[in-house]
Amino acid sequence: MKTINITVKVWRQENAVAKGHFEDYKLTEIDTDMSFLEMLDVLNEGLTLSGELPLAFDSDCREGICGMCGAVVNGEPHGPVKAVTICQLHMRSFTDGQTLVIESWRSKAFPVIKDIVVDRSAFDRIMMAGGYISVKTGTTTDANANLITSDIAEEAMDAAQCIGCGACVAACPNASAMLFVGAKVSHLSLLPQGKIECVERVRKMVTQMDKEGFGSCSNEYECSVSCPKEINISHIARMNRKMIKATIKSVVG
């Protein structure tokens, strides 16, 4: 069993209104096979035993599919390993004696609730604005009722991989949510069920995105690199294209 000693410099903030600061903690004999979140569990165990408040952080499935966890480690959303969430990041990615700066997602639209936990309900409100299809509920439709070619299905699936973790916003120099919204718009507009409401959906989702206080996209493409699901920037391009259509339609009527 290989172990390392590390220092973590982590953002501590008591509540949403309190002023936050960085706190240094030394961790010894960290098993390199531990996940990043397990390392934080070890940190919290120590903090609890010494009578301090444990570090608040989000996590749920811990297998990289739910989108609940996330933190910026040494300037990299979800840490230095490509295409994984922070729960799937392991301590073997770090070296002995290294200092890890751990911060929350930084965005006006994602206010800090406590420590490195942020409120991502802005994403939910964007989804509520138009990230759905209006269909009758009831029995499942016949599997072959809607014919979808393989390449379209693949591309829609690529977009649908988005787990809404918010790493794109964290990575963007403008804290823009374009990759998230682009993925959702793209996913639905590619499929026959979603095509019908496409134009209205784009307009509503983009309006809500602007309202939430996200920045705008300046085509830096940092989002896609940090995305644990490697969502392609072509989905942003598709949303931009649909937005032209939506605007013409809303102006002309």
Binding site: G75, E103, R106, A175, R203, V206, N219, M243
Partner: protein, 238 residues
């Protein structure tokens, strides 16, 4: 009723005005390579452009409006973008993908604006006389020629051209993305094309002051040099 323009539409307006401005850069480039063909070619091109009269004024007014729209919307977006992250990172997310050109877009843009103002005062709203190879000559060619014989002037010009070049290397591919005209397949090529055009613009415009300085050096030579170089100068003047 207050109409709020969606952020994407603002960006598309910036992209469209930027596209029109790069059209101007291309036209300006085609006009100005006339310098390579000597004073007659360049002066007659300048005269022809001036003789357009009202049409030229209309085009100029249009350009100014496009320029102001491009800057105005960019300034509002830059301010909005800064506000979107009130608490900065201790460790700024690493620049894995952003190129230098991308990062300095607002700064190259500001530099270009300052350059355009100076450039207009320098060449358009200045007297059209200048010293060419030690002789006072009339015409825009002489004005440009004299300005470029000053190394400091030329250096500032080249720096400004580099700003234009940097701006374009990001802007062209960015425009395709903003209009949604790029795909996962075409995007890498668009980036390459964008960089190529930016570099070409820098090389061609940047070669103008260098061309003039080399020519001036050659023109000064005959006083101390062989007769065959002087022949060349005489040939140029006729």
């Amino acid at each position: 009723m207050k109409i709020k323009i969606p952020s994407i539409i603002k960006k598309q307006i910036i992209a469209l005005t930027g596209f029109l401005l790069s059209g101007f850069v291309a036209a300006h480039l085609l006009g100005n390579i006339m310098i390579f063909f000597g004073p007659d070619a360049y002066n007659s091109y300048a005269k022809k452009l001036m003789s357009l009269g009202p049409i030229l004024y209309l085009m100029e007014a249009g350009l100014i409006i496009i320029f102001l729209i491009h800057m105005g919307f960019t300034i509002t977006l830059v301010i909005e973008n800064r506000k979107a992250r009130p608490i900065a990172y201790k460790k700024t997310p690493s620049t894995k993908k952003r190129s230098i050109a991308t990062r300095i877009m607002p700064y190259t843009g500001t530099l270009i604006f300052a350059f355009v103002v100076l450039h207009l005062l320098d060449f358009k709203y200045n007297n059209h006389y200048g010293m060419v190879a030690g002789k006072l000559q009339e015409g825009l060619y002489a004005r440009v020629y004299e300005s470029f014989t000053d190394p400091l002037h030329s250096l500032l010009y080249i720096i400004a051209i580099c700003a234009v070049s940097f701006h374009l290397t990001h802007a062209i591919q960015s425009m395709f993305q903003t209009f949604g005209l790029s795909s996962a397949k075409s995007h890498p090529y668009l980036v390459k094309i964008s960089i190529t055009i930016g570099v070409l613009i820098a090389l061609i415009f940047g070669s103008l002051p260098i061309f003039v300085m080399v020519k001036e050096k050659a023109a000064q030579k005959p006083k101390v040099s062989f007769y065959d170089t002087s022949k060349e100068v005489m040939h140029n003047e006729t």
